[in-house]
Symmetry: C2
Subunit: 359 residues, 2 copies
Amino acid sequence: MSFDQDYLNDIDTPAVLVDLDIAKANISRFQDYANAHGIKVRPHIKTHKLPLLAEIQLAAGATGITCQKISEAEAMVAGCAAIRDVLITYNIVGEQKLVRLRSLAEKVRLSVVADSAEVIDGLSQVFASSDRPLSVLVECNTGANRCGVASPRDADLLAARIAEAPGLIFGGLMTYPPAAGEAGVEAFMTEAKALIEARGIAVPVITSGGTPTMMHAADAPVATEYRPGTYVYNDRSLVARGSCGWKDCALTVVATVVSVPAKNRAIIDAGSKTLTSDLLGLTGYGHVLGRDDIVIDQLSEEHGRLVSDRPIDLRVGERVRIVPNHACVVTNMVDSLFVISGGNVALKRLSVSARGKVV
Amino acid sequence: MSFDQDYLNDIDTPAVLVDLDIAKANISRFQDYANAHGIKVRPHIKTHKLPLLAEIQLAAGATGITCQKISEAEAMVAGCAAIRDVLITYNIVGEQKLVRLRSLAEKVRLSVVADSAEVIDGLSQVFASSDRPLSVLVECNTGANRCGVASPRDADLLAARIAEAPGLIFGGLMTYPPAAGEAGVEAFMTEAKALIEARGIAVPVITSGGTPTMMHAADAPVATEYRPGTYVYNDRSLVARGSCGWKDCALTVVATVVSVPAKNRAIIDAGSKTLTSDLLGLTGYGHVLGRDDIVIDQLSEEHGRLVSDRPIDLRVGERVRIVPNHACVVTNMVDSLFVISGGNVALKRLSVSARGKVV
């Protein structure tokens, strides 16, 4: 990918750019794989936070969307009429959030997760008086060591608790798989499913996710649904893993060189307020397209430092285009971004509707 | 500092809290030091991004404010009539920004910096036709190895160029000091000043900055002005350096425990979208007040993982209060925050006016 698009000079920098053609190709690629294997796709919108992209994902065949927080789901539902089915993969705790959850459940088919009796009881208390029972999946820990019950036996106990709780229905099992990967998902979920079904409770959905291993989703055939997020844009972390190439990276950051203070060093106007400090195990804070020799070795809030073991060969005012380490966190830094498509001649500014939605 | 403030339960989490009493004490502490040493204070607003705090800093005796980007300065000036003097410590490059800069210069006394002929020439081109010449300081590299001219000789050459440029006046010398510290500032600036004055050009301001070494600002008596930012709130990085204690940390993040999936692990609803991934050389992503045993060892976007070598002893729904590693970047993550003061009984929600201003 070269950086010869003069029209980009009209954009003030730093700016986040999304190439819609690349994003659409990324969406189709996984949807095709999932269709071929009978897996439903429920994209995690945290990566794009844009109603436009959710609409494209749904039109391509997605079964619904995944959100992490209620405020994120509210923003997406408000911005996209096509969204009729939302899974919030988060323990919803506290009165303020439960009230909002009930209100949201009146607008779309809503599911949430739980990994403790406390969370289930809180949900039941609010939904007991509702006409529409809330679907609750049990979150399982299959290696991420974040949330999730530790064993199939614990999943079974919580499934039973949900099935008995007023206002709730048991929606299935959910995991975010790292470490043990698809093999770990298959083992845990197969055992949990058998235990729950032995009680006479159906397990309608088993949902797994994560872009890095998505093309191996079928290795865990017990799962019925997959929730990739980053796949829509890709990023440097996925190129480093061999999941994609630079040409598959739909999100880039355009920055301007503001200083060339030494032969091997240049400073750009994108710092951690745009690229973020996420390293994801990599060295450096992003990849300058067309310049494999450059390392972005240091970010402060508004400065990015580019170093090379060759002459840096950049001029003040010149623009560079960067694939960030982690696409999801970059979209959260900007109020708006630019969408390009159709041979890159049309530029459209879009508000990042679900940005900064942390509650 | 204990976490027994029941009124905080009314806030949905994660939330950013600013204790105004602590912030005022922090402001006074440095202003008193600076007054005693005849140093002007020009706080960097990147830490708080709030007109209210700028007003307090100016009322305490600050000579003006520092911003890093034009959009940041625009937001601050629009929100606080008391701001009459702004220094943007950044190379302003590109037509879009130069047009905005000229417009801003009509509203306040404005200064910027430059470290190259290209930047100076760009500024001159736009200000040559202005009634009000723009004050331009030369940025000097005294150890940070970010922007800045490399030698006093280079500073002298750019000072002469500014003095001759139509529409510009030479405003002095600026540095952000790391590495060589105040000794490095003193050596570089003394030499540069002598060279410039030998040409018959006055050096009205020599401005340095950075909270970590601010109580040693007087060790570089050549500097006339200091630009601390983080001092208003303090953070875990400054506690780690011994610059302050937990009781001096005005900004905290309130989070709710959403899962206690193992004996030594709990998960909170604040992740990198609130606390950020900034480590600043520390281990872990923040300090849980009152719990020295806890390490926040992992953040994903919406989850923070708390681990301890003792039983974690937290319940689902319980709240914790966290001092983040880096206060400045946290205020950039939220659209609004809560201000507490007066014995912590009054809560006021404030919009973070200059959040996300990257251009």
